[in-house]
């Protein structure tokens, strides 16, 4: 904005005090990380992390690596889109991983084929009822329904009983995992229809992840819902005094998070061609970590989906980078932990510095 003066008398105006968007710093971290892997690769392995060094495939960049960086974080990334919105309103959702597990089991049982290689499908749960070879929309709607119900319960508990989100979603985390195990008494559910398996072929999970990310970033920026997410996370009392219906909003936020977790479940079991009750364990924490690395403040009010997507990419780069350097997976987890804590420390330090300058 130009330096307009608003009437007489007043406080100083300093256009230079405009801060960088927080996402810029996260993006910078991503670039630095890629450069570090690139340098280590060049010096110690004589190979490039980012660029194409093979003569039998075209292109400047290593397409396969770039694709896998996003692909391996897409499913948790879909969850993180919902978790980001929850955290912006000042809440937390620990149940997403278990919602993935329960939804995967239930949805998969509606996506099974009747016969495998001419024999009756041994794993089909609803063979007797004839609920096999259903159109792909059925398991997808069942999944969305599961996420919707779980999210509604989370949101209603938090909005009406006023118990902390940590406790409400911890309860859902344990309950939903129980449902996942109970659904088929611990048995994996396999042999989906071709149309269900087609959901996650190739790079489709990436497309789904990025499309959802763009959609929800637009919603956060341009709609009343988005504005109220930030308002509630920033100052819940002020939001209430301003007439925002806090309870309704919270229910909506947790419901959206539940539905996104269930969509992640669809993509996951379509990709794995099977559903197991242990699916999605720890996904909630990875999703929270992506958001936090992406600059979403755990105290609420700050963050964006763009930041979370970059946070997810940082995750992907670390995993790919360690594979590229042929380091064991153990080290990945150790470094992931350090990076999560480091990101929060850095963020708070940055906030303090900004407060001092202002």
């Amino acid at each position: 904005m130009a330096q307009t003066s608003h009437g007489v008398g007043g406080l100083s105006y300093d256009a230079k005090k405009r801060a960088w968007p927080a996402e810029f710093n996260v993006f910078l971290a991503l670039i630095i990380l890629v450069v570090v892997f690139e340098l280590i690769g060049r010096v110690f392995l004589g190979d490039s992390f980012l660029f194409n060094t093979r003569s039998d495939v075209g292109g400047l960049f290593n397409q396969a690596r770039l694709q896998i960086i996003i692909l391996q974080v897409s499913i948790v990334g879909i969850i993180a889109i919902g978790v980001t919105q929850v955290i912006i309103t000042g809440g937390i959702d620990l149940s997403s991983g278990s919602i993935v597990g329960a939804t995967a089991m239930i949805a998969m049982s509606f996506a099974q084929v009747a016969t495998v290689n001419g024999n009756p499908n041994p794993k089909a749960m609803f063979l007797a009822q004839g609920w096999t070879d259903l159109p792909v929309i059925v398991p997808v709607l069942v999944a969305v329904g599961c996420g919707l119900i779980a999210g509604l319960i989370n949101g209603s508990l938090i909005a009406y009983t006023r118990i902390p989100p940590f406790i409400a979603t911890l309860g859902m985390m344990i309950t939903a995992r129980g449902i996942a195990k109970w659904w088929s008494k611990g048995q994996p559910i396999s042999f989906p229809t071709d149309s269900f398996a087609a959901i996650s072929t190739g790079s489709r999970p990436v497309v789904i992840f990025l499309a959802l990310a763009v959609l929800f970033q637009l919603i956060l920026t341009y709609t009343r819902y988005g504005k109220h997410c930030y308002a509630i996370g920033s100052n819940e009392d002020a939001a209430r005094m301003s007439g925002i219906k806090i309870a309704n909003h919270k229910i909506l936020v947790y419901t959206i998070a539940g539905i996104l977790a269930s969509l992640a479940a669809v993509v996951l079991c379509s990709k794995n061609l099977t559903a197991q009750s242990g699916m999605g364990v720890m996904y909630e924490l990875d999703a929270i970590a992506m958001a936090v690395i992406g600059g979403v403040s755990l105290s609420g009010g700050r963050g964006s989906i763009i930041g979370t997507v970059i946070g997810a990419l940082i995750f992907g780069v670390i995993i790919s980078g360690f594979t590229f350097l042929r380091l064991d997976a153990y080290y990945q987890e150790m470094v992931k932990g350090v990076i999560i804590v480091g990101a929060v420390v850095l963020d708070q330090w940055r906030q303090r510095m900004r407060a001092l300058r202002a």
Binding site: H6, G10, S234
Partner: protein, 261 residues
């Protein structure tokens, strides 16, 4: 009583009373505010000033009494209804969201919508920005940057945003509860300038303040509360600081003056 809808009385209370259990916080308050008038409410802590305001803005429900606002008798069910009717309050504890920019704070809870899609209604950001600039001009508030969050603004700037918020909407009455209590000298001057601008624009105001100089500078009339009752209602020409202090402390009782008024 004359027909209130034909007079220039903006707000009138009759026998306004509030009890908390056995505690009489406010008793029989009769109060009038006319168009364009700036009235100060003074009194010791616990004298009933804030209780009085909380009944008018319906943050609490009164025990007894009647309120007329804008020509008709009103019974607001809550502060949101009062606000919709045109009573804007600048709260002591600043009802602002730190992580939102200035236009978002001004329009918090009543965003202007481009087209309606329920909770996912698209915001009319251009309109809100323009209206914010207009409100800032009207109140003579100057703030560093419209599109930066208010988290790192000074106390004075934040108070200015809170006041500008009242001017964004067609408010018919502004109530300020100690708007400068937490501010420095320069910032207080800034807020006082805004109040003068409101006066020049003919907007009626109730100002709760402990600052004698400020009250005499800004207001036409001073109402003193003591122990839940209105003990004095004086035009500023007919009184002075010492007089007011005697009423606040109870050295003087207001029976005679109130009867004469």
């Amino acid at each position: 009583m004359p027909d209130i809808s034909t007079t220039d009385i903006v707000l009138k209370t009759e026998n306004l009373t509030k009890r908390y259990g056995g505690v009489q916080a406010l008793e029989g308050a009769n109060f009038e505010l006319r168009k364009g008038e700036h009235v100060a409410i003074m009194g010791d802590n616990g004298a009933g000033k804030s209780t009085f305001v909380r009944q008018i803005t319906a943050v609490e429900q009164r025990t007894d009494g009647k309120i007329w606002f804008d020509g008709k008798e009103v019974n607001f069910n809550g502060p949101i209804e009062a606000r919709e009717a045109g009573i804007e309050t600048v709260f002591q504890n600043l009802a602002l969201a730190d992580d939102l920019d200035v236009p978002s704070n001004l329009f918090l809870g009543r965003e202007k919508v481009l087209f309606n899609l329920g909770p996912f209604s698209i915001l009319d950001r251009r309109y809100m920005r323009k209206a914010t600039e207009a409100a800032l001009v009207r109140t003579a508030v100057k703030i560093p940057n419209l599109s930066s969050t208010i988290r790192h603004m000074s106390g004075g700037q934040r108070q200015c945003v809170a006041i500008a918020r009242t001017a964004t909407f067609a408010s018919k009455l502004i109530i300020m509860d100690e708007p400068t209590a937490a501010l420095g000298v320069q910032e207080t001057a800034q807020v006082e300038n805004i109040i003068r601008t409101l006066k020049a624009n003919g907007e009626p105001l109730i100002l709760i303040s402990h600052n004698m100089r400020q009250v005499f500078d800004l207001c036409d009339r001073i109402v003193v509360f003591r122990r839940g009752r209105i003990v004095a209602n004086l035009r500023k020409e007919n009184t002075d600081g010492n007089d007011i202090v005697s009423y606040i402390t109870g050295a003087k009782t207001g029976e005679a003056e109130l009867a004469a008024a």
